[in-house]
Every structure is written in structure tokens, then in C-alpha cells.
Amino acid sequence: MYRPLSGSQDRWFQFRMDWKRRRLRARAILKGRELTCLRKGGWARDSVLLFCTIRNEAERLEWFMHHYRALGVGHFIFIDNASDDGTRETLLVQPDATVYATEASYKASRFGMDWINWLMLRHANGHWCVVADADELLIYPHWQTRPLRALTQCLEARGQPVLPAMMLELYPKGPLDQAEYVPGSDPTNCLNWFDAANYTIAHKPLLDCLLIQGGPRARCFFADSPHRAPTLTKLPLIRWSWHNAWVNATHSILPRRLNRVFDAGQGEGLSGVLLHTKFLPTVVEKSRIEKARGEHFGNAPVFDSYYDAVAQAPDLWCPASKRYSGWEQLEELGLISRGGWA
């Protein structure tokens, strides 16, 4: 639970993390050499940019871009990591996308974060940016009626440069490979169940961030080792400055103060969720491939049993699952908050 740090400890952590931030930025600059630009687009000074590392996501791509265009993303910047299912070809014909490509290792680039850090350092200073994977759809209070520009203006007026949006994992009812999904359609039509309250939060003093874990994956695949369950904290919308550096995916960022997205008093801050559409039917097939690639977790062999479990097409649904019906429901359940943005 949250306990404020003593002043000296805080300064010490600040000092350590500041050097880490410099190191990460230097690393990003080196790793930037792995990227080749295939297509370069232009964008306006006040455009919201979206950064995404992508690999073989042809079936999700159409809806992903549709969703974020509707939210008012002005330009997409993709890093294509050796796709071979037509994703790259699709990206190259989009009018509002810049495409970089690399064949280098995803894991060796700290799961794409070095590439993202480099491209954001290069392009994003002063822009509001979304950083999301192809299976993550950002929603926030009033998202259908208020585009990202309204949200960013509100955050700016509050002096808050980051929006927290934890991952909300959606799953179908029944075995994972039985759901029916038409590529390009809204994935929440077939993945429409979620866990309402089994999320644990711990405060990490070193980064001053929250570590959120839990959800269906913890419940079904990590019931004996919950500390290994995937991190669900995400900070996908940020006003970028070239001082910044992502630490651990988009779970945490440096400088430290940017992680302070939560209200440590009694009030509620503004927050959204990333609808995680990982569990489309193809996940079963993909988990076999990913197990062999071993590119997704730091200590990959430990997660073999997880991949094996997903490859069995289990049913993540349970009688206490909730059917997803919209952001109002998520707010009522306490997963997000409008935080006074009436």
C-alpha cells in the first residue's frame, strides 16, 4: 500500500533514476540504427501521434486504425518488426502512417522500447502521443463524444502530462478458439467479458509508479505464482518531451514524477483503460509460435507453461465475469474514473 517516502530516500531514488533515464536514452540512440524508414509522412504541429511496434497483426490492423482515427489521432508511426502476413504492405498504403522496419530482435531492444524511445525522441517532442500495441484500444470517460484533443486540453489545464489507462483483458465465453471473429471488425463484439475486481496494486517507490497485476491471466494461468502475472499498468497517452524515456514497456516512465498519475489522497484522478484484445481465436495458434520465438518475456522459459496453457484453448470465462457494455460501466465498477471531467 502507498506510503510516502522520506525526503532523503526520495532524493536518492531521484538521483539513481535520473542516471537510468540518461542511460536509456543513450541506448535508444544506439538502437535507433536498427530501424530503416520505409515511408515517411508529415503531420501538423498539434497532431496527436501514435507509436506502435507491430508484428503480424493483419487481422487487427484495420479496426485498430479505425478506432484511433475516430479518437482523433493525427498520424501513426509504426515499427514493423519483420511481419510476413501482409501487415507491412497494408501499412505502406495508409495515407497517415510513417513506417519504419527492422528485422532485429524485439527482446534485445527491450521489447521494442528502445526503438520507441528513439522515434519519440526524434519526432514527438511537444506532441501528445499514444503508445499502444495493435491489440490495445484506448478508451476513457466520454470517449465517443470527446476526442483525444478534448482530453489532452483537459489534462493540460490540470498540468497533468500523462493519462493512466490500465490494460483490461477481454475474453470470450467458451474456449478461446471457438469465438468467431471477422478480421477488421470490432473485436469487442466477440471478446466481451472481463474481470471486474481481481486486480492487485502495489506502489513501487523506486519509480514511484503503481504495479497493477491480476485479471483473467493471473486467475487462470498464474494462480500459483501471481508475482509472474503480467503487469497491467499502462501510461499510453503522454505529452512527450525529449527528456523522457520509457523504462519497462509503457508501464513506467522516467523522469519519476510522470509516474505520479494517481491521487494519493482521497480524490480520484482521470483515467481510462486499454481494452486488450489479445484473446482473439488466433491467440491459440500464435502462442505456439511465440513459445518457440521466446521474444516476449525477460525470463522466457518460465513462461512456457503459460504458452502451453493458452495453446490448449482454455475457457477464461467464469460465473463472476462481467459483460463489457461501455465506459460508464467501467467507471461504475471503479476501473476508470472521470476524475471530475464532467
Partner: protein, 554 residues
């Protein structure tokens, strides 16, 4: 000169000029003269765009431009100049309405004209005596009138604050010029020609201006104060709906506020998000007239924003989430979402205690939530509300959030559960519950011995095991008996309970509103206790502290 409607509109614009032009056209269509003030900070190019956009309109004027910083005197200057243009150029105007470029009319212009026609001598201005203005955001109220404010608040915050502090220390006070009686209120007013003329041509106007020039936020006090000198009839309200948050910033209205705004009893609303196409399209067209009328419910609007405000600053009690993560240090606030009752030891003494408890209190009691192997949810469920898993490992990973999550996910339903020294319950959690006003903790001390007495097998040294239980129970009792307890704690020893089980149980159940159930279902049966005293003596003689025996004998 073209004949005009008896209502003149002053618009102070500084951003989103195309929107301002749209609104100006709305008024011009209705025959209302419009005087536009465009902030001096607006680039000439944009102003030219606005002029070209509006074209030449006989009823349109531009007033001398000023640089209007927030809270500065220039806003009043701009309003004065614009009002002079209006009164001088349009003799038919009977009322003048001050609005901004981000105001949006909520009703057809004809409705406002008819409303004002019926009240030709009434001034509509929020003007509250400072002795009664309790709604002021941002601290200063009376001091706005009695201190000097030579520095801007937005740009020179430090100087501003220091100047206020210094003046407070030195007790510097300004004289309010007689006969002024300081009033303040919303900046957006609608005054009659007579009142406005009287304010603008007051022989003492230079003196008042000298005074207000150094006030803080004079745009909320200049007209509001002076109107009290000259008015005939003041209706103390603004025709413009503005909602402020606790930091004194106006809420923006977006497309989704359409239905809410239709329920307003005001004629204009501020501030509208410039990109709220739906709002502009709806209210500036003839749609409001074509739809069936809605009964105004201003209280509903107030409530909507009050709730949002409450959520922002007070939050929902017992919620731990990504944007609300309170520390436990705040004393007296609920740490959990709803009331719950925790029982320790009762199930060892009474037959079928959980079942009975459920019947009597009408709840669904859990077993030992913190049992070492797995969570004993009610009925042995594998998952509970909120998809909480029965896995012991997940629970032990964060035992605090397991409890807060359970209570959050089951809001509206009182939770009862069992606990005891044999559980995997960290001492910190007992401390957590003890400091939570929602908790009701009933402990039957010494009851942990009963399972051993009934022949429960123990791996290893029995005495060591029992000693450990006793040590844990003592640690908990110390916490439960501390001075800072917020929970309702009931501690009784096995001996006390056996002396009069009915009275003891009745007290606990009645405190949980279970009196009716108790009269139907009666008391649970006691489990057999023969020979327990001898067992205790045996334990004592084997080397356990005699305190154990005392629990039973008292």
C-alpha cells in the same frame, strides 16, 4: 439606421473566432445589434478573417481592442468601451447582454427578447454582498476589495502571493470609496440601458475606476457593485449558465451535455468547447423550437457537476485503482467500501456457526477467507464477485487488496467471514481492519484450542504449535485493544461466552440488525465441551503458560 431589436449583445472574444462569428450571426439574424471585442493578443490576420467571415452587417460593430488578461482590469475596460459603442450607436436597445466568444445561446433569440420585453426595467446580474458570498473559489473574498493587487496572478504568481502576504502582515487596507458597498458575482450580466448609462456617466466614475483598477478580478465586482447604486430593480441572477470547479475554472460543455443543457433555465451557457459541433449545430439552428419543450431542471445540472466534483476531490470510499491510491495514514476515513463483520473462534464453539449466521443476518457468510490452503468463499465457490480467485497464492500476494477488492466488488451486501490464528493472516491486516470504521470484529479468545481438544492432528510438536497460536492471538489482542481502534471490536474469552452464550451472541447479532432473525432461528447449538477443563490442565502441566487455563476459568 436600421431598426433593431431592443437587445444588444456584447461579445468578448479571444479564441475560437469562427465560433464567435457563428454565434454573432445567430444574434444578427434575430435583429440584435452585436458589438464584438476582439482581444488585442489576437493576430491581425485572424481578426481580418473574422471580419471577412461576418461581412458588412449594419448591426455589427467592433469596439476598441484591449489586452484582456484573466482577472485584469482591462476586461472591465473592454466591456465599458463596448457598452458605450452599443448605447451610442443603437438607440433602440433597451437591454445590453455581456457574453463571451465561447458562450452559446440555449434558447431561440425570440424567447429571450420576449422574456426581456416583459421585464423592461429589470437588471439581470448576479450581485452578492461579499458578506454572504460563500461560493468564492480560490481563497480571497473580502480581501479582493481591501488589498492592492499590482501583480498578475497568472504570470507573476510568486509576486502576487508575496504581495498579499506582506499586506496581511503589515495590515495594509484600502478604503472602499463611499458610497460603494462591495458586491460580487458572475461576470456575465444583462443590464438595462438606464442602469448601464448611469454607471457609465456617473460623475464619480474616474474615482471608482481608480479604485477597481487595483482590485483583484474586477470583472466580477465592478458592475456588480455599481449596479447597486443605480438600479431600479435587480434580479440577482445571471442569464448565463457557468459552472466552476473547485479551482475556479469554468467547466467546459461538450457534445454529450446536450440533454443537460436543454434542461437549463438560463438563456446562455459558458464555456463551450470550440469543437463541440453538435452543441453549436443544435442550439444555433431552429431545432430547439421544433422539439417538444423540456421542463427546466437546473437542480439536475447542479447535481451532475457536484457529483463530478465530489468524485474528483473526495473519491469513492474503499476504492483502490489506477488513479486513486490513498495511503492508510489518514485517520478516521473508511478504508473499505462497505460494512463487514469478522468472527474469530465462534465456529469452534458452536455447531454450524456460518450457516446459522447466514440465516440470522440474511447474509452469505464466508468461511476462513485466509485459510492457509485456499480461500473459503461462501458455498466453496471457486470465484467470487469481481472474479476474485479462490487461489491462496493470489490472495497472499496482496492480502490487503484481496479484502478491499472483495468489499468493493460486493458493495451493498454485508460481508461476514471467519478468521483465526490458524489462518495465513498477516498481523498488518488485523491492524488494517482495526483502523477501519467499516469493520466489526468479534473475537472469542482461546477458542483456537478446541480443535486440538477434539483431536485435530498436528505435524510436529503440539505444544510448540499451540504456543504459536497463543502468541499470534496475543499479538492481535494488543492491536485490537489499542487506543486508536476505529472498528467496533467485541472481545470475550471462552469462559465468558460459556457463562452466558445467549446474551453474548444476542448482543453481537442485534448490533448487526439480526434481532428478527434471531427470534426465528434461535441460538446455535453448543458443541460438546466435556473434559475440556481437564485437557487444559494437561496442557498446563505439559508446560504451556497457565494463562490459557485462565481464559477458560474466568
Amino acid at each position: 439606421m436600421t431598426a433593431s431589436a431592443p437587445l444588444g449583445i456584447i461579445m468578448l472574444c479571444h479564441t475560437a473566432l469562427p465560433r464567435a462569428a457563428q454565434v454573432a450571426r445567430f444574434w444578427l439574424r434575430a435583429g440584435c445589434p452585436v458589438v464584438l471585442h476582439v482581444d488585442r493578443a489576437v493576430p491581425e490576420r485572424e481578426l481580418e478573417g473574422l471580419r471577412a467571415d461576418l461581412g458588412s452587417e449594419p448591426l455589427l460593430r467592433f469596439s476598441p481592442r484591449h489586452r484582456c488578461e484573466w482577472g485584469s482590469w482591462n476586461i472591465v475596460r473592454a466591456s465599458q468601451d463596448a457598452a458605450e459603442v452599443m448605447l451610442g450607436d443603437f438607440p433602440e436597445v433597451g437591454h445590453v447582454l455581456l457574453s463571451s466568444g465561447s458562450c452559446l445561446p440555449l434558447r431561440p433569440a425570440e424567447e429571450l427578447l420576449a422574456f426581456l420585453r416583459d421585464r423592461p426595467d429589470t437588471d439581470f446580474i448576479e450581485s452578492v454582498s461579499i458578506n454572504h458570498a460563500t461560493w468564492i473559489m480560490g481563497g480571497l473574498s473580502e480581501e479582493r476589495f481591501t488589498l492592492y493587487f499590482p501583480f498578475g496572478w497568472r504570470r507573476q504568481r510568486w509576486l502576487f502571493d508575496t504581495a498579499v502576504e506582506v499586506q496581511r502582515k503589515l495590515e495594509i487596507r484600502r478604503e472602499v470609496p463611499r458610497p460603494l458597498d462591495p458586491h460580487m458575482g458572475s461576470q456575465w450580466w444583462c443590464l438595462t440601458r438606464a442602469t448601464l448609462q448611469a454607471i457609465l456617466t456617473d460623475p464619480k466614475r474616474p474615482r471608482y475606476e481608480r479604485y477597481f483598477r487595483r482590485n483583484w478580478i474586477p470583472d466580477e465586482s465592478y458592475f456588480q457593485t455599481l449596479v447597486r447604486l443605480h438600479d431600479r430593480r435587480v434580479e440577482n441572477r445571471s442569464l448565463t449558465l457557468v459552472k466552476f470547479d473547485r479551482n475556479g475554472r469554468p467547466y467546459l460543455f461538450y457534445d454529450d451535455h446536450l440533454q443537460l443543457l436543454r434542461r437549463s433555465d438560463c438563456f446562455l451557457a459558458r464555456k463551450i468547447w470550440p469543437e463541440a459541433d453538435k452543441l453549436y449545430d443544435f442550439f444555433l439552428s431552429d431545432q430547439p423550437t421544433r422539439l417538444p419543450p423540456v421542463t427546466p431542471e437546473p437542480a439536475k445540472i447542479d447535481r451532475y457537476f457536484e457529483l463530478a466534483e465530489k468524485q474528483r476531490f473526495e473519491g469513492r470510499a474503499g476504492l483502490y485503482m489506477q488513479s486513486r491510491f490513498p495511503s492508510f495514514d489518514t485517520v478516521g476515513t473508511a478504508r473499505t467500501a462497505g460494512p463487514y463483520a469478522a468472527f474469530s473462534g465462534f465456529e469452534h464453539l458452536f455447531e454450524n456457526f456460518e450457516h446459522w449466521l447466514g440465516q440470522v443476518t440474511g447474509t452469505r457468510p464466508h468461511g476462513h477467507l485466509y485459510a492457509p490452503d485456499r480461500v473459503q468463499f461462501h458455498g466453496g465457490a471457486q470465484v467470487w464477485h469481481g472474479a476474485l480467485s479462490a487461489s491462496g497464492a493470489i490472495r497472499d500476494y496482496n492480502p490487503y487488496m484481496f479484502l478491499t477488492n472483495l468489499l468493493w466488488a460486493t458493495r451493498g451486501e454485508v460481508q461476514c467471514f471467519l478468521f483465526g490464528p490458524e489462518d495465513r493472516l498477516p498481523d498488518g491486516l488485523v491492524d488494517f481492519m482495526t483502523h477501519d470504521p467499516n469493520a466489526r470484529i468479534s473475537v472469542l479468545t482461546g477458542a483456537y484450542l478446541l480443535p486440538y481438544f477434539r483431536g485435530r492432528k498436528v505435524d510436529g510438536d503440539l505444544l510448540h504449535h499451540i504456543g504459536e497460536m497463543q502468541r499470534r492471538e496475543q499479538a492481535w489482542l494488543t492491536i485490537l485493544r489499542s487506543r486508536w481502534v476505529q472498528a467496533q471490536v467485541e472481545i470475550c474469552s471462552l469462559g465468558e461466552m460459556l457463562a452466558d452464550p445467549e446474551a453474548r451472541l444476542r448482543a453481537i447479532i442485534e448490533a448487526m440488525d439480526g434481532a428478527a432473525g434471531l427470534s426465528v432461528h434461535g441460538l446455535p447449538a453448543l458443541r460438546p465441551m466435556e473434559g475440556f477443563d481437564r485437557y487444559l490442565v494437561q496442557l498446563r502441566d505439559k508446560g504451556l503458560p497457565p494463562a490459557i487455563l485462565k481464559e477458560f476459568q474466568c
